[in-house]
Symmetry: C2
Subunit: 277 residues, 2 copies
């Protein structure tokens, strides 16, 4: 059967194929300049870095390799956040421990060199990030490799860097908290019935209704992010059509990318647990 | 940039994502029991065998490995014909000769062991094939591995087996003729403009209008296959909507699979020639 590398690549593909996923590129919707085909090429290119993680390479280097491979398409940033979430999970799965403890152990074992790999990854693709919030102790990610001397001087590991962003970034919060939303969503994916992409679209909506998407909050504001959460809850409750919501969010430039990242991570865990395609 | 293995996997993904491709599963259409997600898993699973071909493994063994990997999904046969077309092309690309001469040299070099790998591949997935036509000299593919003693006794190479089927199977005809339709379609893919999946949908329709699809002829009859060719030509000429044709073909169970296989092969060649995604 499929190994962790293959399941991770397939998770990326199933995530983008799942529809409707309001606000994100999916099987039925492109964004201007960012199309379905860019995500296909991103997933294919990321596989080598994911294989490095499964084979036991350091998380930071494997992540950087995955992002570099992902970047060989003209759409820009397709799966940066999803790869950041997947890399420690794939590393844990490669060791036979694809569970919260195993993933947390991978996080705890990260080093300053892993942090350096994370910062270097920003050089391969243009990631939409803001000014770091006042009081942030970790270097600005926009520095890329230039941040490495400071990381080394201060002895900051990748776990330290993620802990610093956990309050403002949903993927970082998963890293520091034992990946709770990822594993819970995986359980729901396995328990559901029907085509995998229908299950994933449902779980995406549940995740979106459950917590504010931090990428929307960063790109827009808190009010917009809270509105998105409420609208997703209404769609889940049957009070709105998720397909209409998808059209509206794309039109308004609302892109709940963090929720899509967690959906990809959950698909990986579910595939590792035997979810059949 | 992407290597031949990655380009081959991406070609499989871009082929299935291209829409409308009347009669085939595509980004907008599933068949009953054969869904888009099965093709995603098929492409991910096939990559290991494609990598074997790029690394110089014998074509028959690489093809069998690709089909075995492809089979790890519940939809059944997703990309058997496409992999049969891709394997010698990937092997040629791995040697730096992704052109008609290079591919023909790979075909000419096939052995009896390659033929055995081809027959063994039929054991991994249920391929829709009919009784062999009267007078066919090669063993019935439905024998699978049981055909190997006969192949060995008669010294039949994979090139011999393909030559035997060239009159009735469009993929075999590519093998024996220097892959003419594949390379011509690749040239048109590179020369076209716009998203890759739009280019591929157009080239699929041109291929369908250009020659009878042998899979349709085998599954239905000559009249149906000729009707499909005429209808595709009408759609190309603007006299019919390809999307309507897609709906109708799916309803009638008309699946021009050989034309999709050649589209996947052409996408691979185009990517090797620098077509950007």
């Amino acid at each position: 059967m499929r190994d962790p590398t293959e399941n991770a690549e397939l998770a990326l593909l199933l995530e983008v194929a799942s529809t409707p996923k309001p606000g994100n590129v999916d099987r039925a919707r492109d964004h201007p300049g960012l199309r379905f085909e860019h995500f296909l090429a991103g997933a294919v290119g990321a596989r080598r870095g994911l294989a490095d993680a499964a084979d036991g390479d350091p998380v930071g280097a494997a992540f950087e390799a995955a992002v570099e491979g992902m970047s060989h398409q003209s759409g820009g940033n397709t799966q940066f956040g999803a790869l950041l979430l997947l890399t420690p999970l794939v590393r844990a799965a490669g060791m036979g421990h694809c569970d919260p403890d195993g993933a947390s152990a991978v996080v705890a074992d990260t080093t300053v060199a892993d942090a350096a790999g994370f910062y270097r990854a920003f050089e391969h693709v243009d990631v939409a990030v803001d000014e770091p919030p006042a009081g942030t102790a970790a270097p600005d990610v926009r520095l890329g490799a230039e941040a490495v001397p400071e990381l080394e001087r201060r002895g900051l590991t990748l776990a330290d860097v993620m802990a610093e962003s956990a309050a403002t970034d949903g993927v970082a919060a998963e890293w520091t908290g034992g990946f709770p939303r990822t594993f819970e969503a995986a359980t729901r994916l396995v328990a559901a019935e029907g085509p995998v992409t229908d299950r994933a679209a449902r779980v995406y909506l549940e995740l979106l209704a459950g917590e504010v998407d931090t990428f929307v909050r960063t790109q827009h504001d808190r009010e917009t992010a809270e509105e998105v959460t409420e609208r997703a809850a209404a769609a889940l409750a049957g009070a709105a059509d998720p397909a209409d919501l998808a059209e509206e969010f794309v039109e308004r430039g609302i892109n709940p990318g963090t929720t899509a990242d967690i959906t990809a991570g959950a698909l990986f865990v579910a595939l590792e647990r035997g979810l059949g395609v």
